[in-house]
């Protein structure tokens, strides 16, 4: 068995031009990264930075124009093993409404397994497990339109979990949700990573979500700008601002205070840390 990791090397992707000779559009300009199993990675970038395009390479929806993406030893260009890759790398999209296929929650969660030809008894078991993992088991007989946005997105996640993938790629899963739904989904994602050791790749532009990851990758203009722990990445406030990204509110506050000459550590990320640091300072 190959090592469980996603390996991106020299990834170049260009949307092809049309037949009338309009030029193609170069989105990804040479990316290298490795995502090992078990990690919680946040990919940050402003609109048009190529972060969603990158995400679509992880499960072979798009294949590279140049370079390679290797998922657990399988090159995504290998069309014969497309379903193996998609089973390994599940993908959740922004709009929960547009990814739920069936009219009943449990039927939807079963959809991927039905496609893969899993025997019915096994489907039943995996569907129940997946629904319990996202804490939606009691809603299994509801119609999707009776659920809130956060609940729908959790159903979509369960639909992917039922495949038992090693990797879950979430492309801005909270962008269309209200604050309550957003925190539900993020909590679910974190639990998956922690309790079930599912590798999570979270594409987002919410800094507060990125802070909770093990690793933050900043994509700008089709290239990787920074790749490190949240503390490392968010301490470079000027750099992030120069590429049109915000930093978490707490970091921003600490940054401003430091500019004023107040002695605070720059790597503060959470409200609690900030509270403690300020308390120490004021004591």
């Amino acid at each position: 068995m190959e090592k469980k990791e996603i390996n991106v090397s020299g990834l170049v992707f260009e949307y092809p031009g049309d037949e009338e000779g309009a030029p193609g559009y170069l989105v990804l300009k040479g990316l290298d990264m490795t995502i090992p199993a078990g990690q919680f990675v946040a990919v940050l970038g402003h609109n048009g930075s190529g972060k969603s395009t990158l995400a679509k390479h992880f499960n072979a929806i798009l294949t590279p124009t140049g370079g390679d993406v290797i998922v657990c030893g399988i090159n995504t260009k290998d069309e014969d093993r497309l379903f193996d890759i998609r089973q390994q790398v599940g993908m959740v999209f922004q709009n929960p409404d547009n990814q739920i296929v069936a009219t009943i929650v449990e039927e939807d969660v079963a959809f991927a397994l039905e496609n893969l030809g899993v025997p019915p008894a096994e489907i039943r078991k995996r569907v129940d497990d997946a629904l319990k993992e996202v804490d939606m088991y009691e809603y299994r007989e509801h119609a999707p339109h009776q659920l809130s946005g956060g609940q729908k997105q959790r159903v979509a996640i369960a639909g992917i979990l039922a495949m038992r993938p090693d990797f879950i790629v979430l492309d801005e899963p909270t962008a269309m949700l209200d604050p309550k739904g957003r925190s539900e989904v993020i909590r679910t994602i974190k639990e998956l990573n922690k309790n079930f050791h599912t590798t999570v790749v979270l594409i987002t532009h919410y800094m507060e979500e990125a802070v909770q990851a093990d690793r933050v990758v900043v994509v700008d203009n089709g290239k990787i700008l920074r790749d490190g722990t949240p503390k490392e990445v968010f301490s470079e406030v000027e750099l992030l601002k120069s590429v049109g990204l915000d930093v978490p509110q707490v970091t921003e506050l600490v940054y401003e205070l430091r500019q004023e000459g107040i002695d605070l550590p720059q790597d503060i990320l959470t409200e609690d840390e900030c509270y403690e640091a300020l308390k120490k300072l004021l004591a």
């Binding site: 599940g90 409404d97 990814q99 397994l113 039905e114 496609n115 339109h145």
Partner: protein, 275 residues
């Protein structure tokens, strides 16, 4: 408010009729329609009516629902009734007014036709009252699957139906939103003549279509991500299974057919003047 619409006319429940296999319900409904057209003498309607009344009782669907389902086709029933009443040639004429004449035969035929239509609608409604749209879709897929041999797209058809059902509430909600948005921009949808009202729908239809296409594209992508590749090699979580209930229902319906055939065969000379 628009969000609460029910799709189809399904009444959730746990009666034996609800629990029957949807395939059997579909087949028996067709069977019952055929039986209705076999009835050829007035006594034949008695078991047909009793059978249906029994079915409604077992399914615990209120009888007043029959009235509700018949309402839309009431004009057709009345129209055919009147036509038959006046234009059926018969020997035992009751009233004669120029070309119009009412005979016993005419009365009999119009009552027969009306009764047949009512039973037809009530019978098919019972199926839709007791079967959820999704179960019905499954049943259609399963029943049509033998036709796959001649390349009939049974799975694709069922998939289309279920996606359509899935997206009705979503699109209804969206329509609601677009209407509010256009009203907020000063669109007037409630006044003017027919043509003006139709024109007022354009600013609603266009955004709705665009968003539906966008949704379709995203849905296709999400389905691909979940390894969808058509009906081949697909399994189902919920397998449809015939139970003893289904065979009991089949038996009862067959008995009904036998009774009606017997009633058709028995010579009834005392009815000759009517037929």
């Amino acid at each position: 408010m628009l969000k609460d619409i029910t799709i189809g006319q399904y009444f959730p429940g746990h009666s034996p009729v609800h629990r029957m296999d949807p395939r059997m319900k579909l087949l028996l409904t067709i069977f019952y329609i055929v039986i209705l057209f076999c009835v050829s003498n007035p006594f034949g309607f008695i078991p047909a009516v009793l059978f249906l009344a029994g079915c409604y009782m077992v399914s615990q669907i209120p009888i007043k629902m029959i009235a509700k389902s018949i309402k839309p086709i009431l004009p057709i029933i009345i129209f055919t009734g009147i036509l038959n009443l006046f234009f059926i040639e018969g020997e035992s004429v009751l009233v004669q007014l120029g070309p119009i004449h009412i005979s016993w035969q005419g009365i009999y035929t119009s009552v027969k036709m009306a009764l047949r239509l009512v039973l037809l609608i009530a019978g098919t409604s019972l199926m839709t009252y007791t079967t959820s749209p999704i179960a019905l879709t499954d049943a259609i897929e399963q029943l049509l699957s033998p036709l796959k041999v001649v390349h009939f797209p049974a799975h694709e058809l069922a998939m289309m139906m279920s996606i359509a059902l899935r997206f009705i509430p979503t699109l209804v909600e969206e329509t609601d939103k677009i209407m509010s948005a256009q009203k907020a921009r000063g669109a007037d949808m409630d006044s003017g003549g027919l043509i003006q009202r139709a024109k007022a729908l354009i600013p609603i239809m266009i955004p709705l279509f665009i968003s539906a296409f966008r949704r379709a594209e995203e849905l296709a992508l999400a389905m691909e991500c979940r390894c969808y590749h058509g009906g081949e090699g697909r399994t189902r979580m919920k397998q449809l299974k015939y139970s003893h209930l289904d065979f009991v229902a089949l038996g009862v319906t067959t008995v009904l057919l036998v009774i009606i055939i017997i009633l058709n065969i028995i010579p009834m000379p005392f009815l000759n003047w009517l037929l």
